[in-house]
């Protein structure tokens, strides 16, 4: 039986969770970036675009970047907040891929468990290795 919303792919609960994760991640990320921009202006007195030094995000891997964020040697709060916003944004689709793996594992849908696991492995390797 198909309701007014259609059945999409027969995984209604998953769709609801994914939708929630996506919008929450984007809202948190944009809020952090906006807060970082405001603090950056208040501390430096300028909103000029810069091309070097502290404003460039560079890390050995994504998890090293998260470590840098919370280390004492890291840049001031404005740039830290903006970096955190970008990290949350990067984690948003990653989190929905992880959630899909868990969902299909619970459903014992081994075909889609393999499909989603493949994507998660590719993403994890790309975030860890360069």
């Amino acid at each position: 039986m198909v309701d007014r919303h259609g059945e999409g792919n027969g995984a209604g609960a998953l769709e609801g969770l994914i939708s929630y994760i996506l919008i929450t991640g984007v809202v948190i990320s944009l809020f952090l970036e906006a807060a970082g921009l405001v603090l950056f202006y208040r501390s430096s007195g300028t909103l000029a675009i810069s091309h070097g030094g502290r404003v460039i995000i560079r890390a050995e891997d994504f998890f090293a970047l998260l470590g840098q964020l919370f280390s004492a040697a890291s840049s001031g709060w404005p740039l830290r907040l903006m970096t955190l916003g970008i990290a949350v944004l990067i984690l948003t689709p990653y989190a929905r891929a992880l959630l899909s793996v868990i969902y299909f594992a619970c459903q014992r849908n081994f075909k889609y468990l393999a499909v989603t696991l493949f994507v998660v492995i590719i993403l994890t390797v790309s975030l860890l290795v360069h």
Binding site: V2, R4, H5, G6, E7, G8, N9, G10, A11, G12, L14, E15, G16, I18, S19, Y20, L22, I23, G25, V26, S29, L30, E33, A34, G36, L37, F40, L47, A48, I49, S50, H51, V55, I56, I57, R58, A59, E60, D61, F62, L79, M82, G85, I86, L89, I90, T92, P93, Y94, A97, S100, K111, Y112, V115, V119, I122, L123, S126, L127, H130
Partner: protein, 273 residues
Amino acid sequence: MFSLLLISIPVGLIGSLTGLGGASILIPLMVLFGIPVKEAIASGMVSVIATSSGSASAYVRQRIANVKIAMYLEMFTSVGAIIGATITTLIAPVYLYFFFAAFLMTSFLKLKRRPQPDQFSPAGRSRLSRWLTLEGSYFDEARKEIITYTADRPLLGGLGMMVAGLAAGMLGIGAGAFKVTVQEHILRLPSKVASTTSNFIVGMTALAGTSVYLFSGFLNLTLMAPMAIGTTLGAIAGGRVLNKLNDRMLRGLFFCVVVLLIVQMLYKGAASW
């Protein structure tokens, strides 16, 4: 940064209205104003995650985007995006201007859409499509009926999506028009399912590309933050006014924007040669 934020809002709006996406328009504009092309591309990739995730959230909730088909296709787009982003970190910037202009030309495929059939369930669907249950249904508000569909030729569609992922990772854009074309013409999905599923996939493709740029030193906070905020706000506004504009107006806007962007990137490429 403030001017970039202000520019990003109307650009996000136009990107949403034309279906090009904010990054496809903003990257050539940033290049025009002297931003290094690789930094512009890497920042574009991050803003794509924001705009795609924001709009995909609604499409997934409304069950128009097909999550299972999206997950199958993401296997191909994420691999393509990693390869594409790696190529960008290695090649000379001058080639990127020409690649960008060439890929923008594929956006015209969107204007040559064939009329959609009434039935989307081919009789002889492939074994892989049956095995993965690449099918679904949605309630079409315009036709006031439930549309049932199945994906045809999934392997060929996957390869097409790998090319889309490669271009997206390489150029820092969503490559939405190309992805929609692959889904409509190869997988034979209904337009609404193709465009919303494409939107859902774009965020994952962008993440795969961004992970490569993270190590390369092209992710610039003073570009990414205003660009992500501005294009997302613009895309939200675009989604609200889209239904109020007629199709002819949107096609005219699309044509003018794409031609201008192609000319600008070709000029920049020729000047840098």
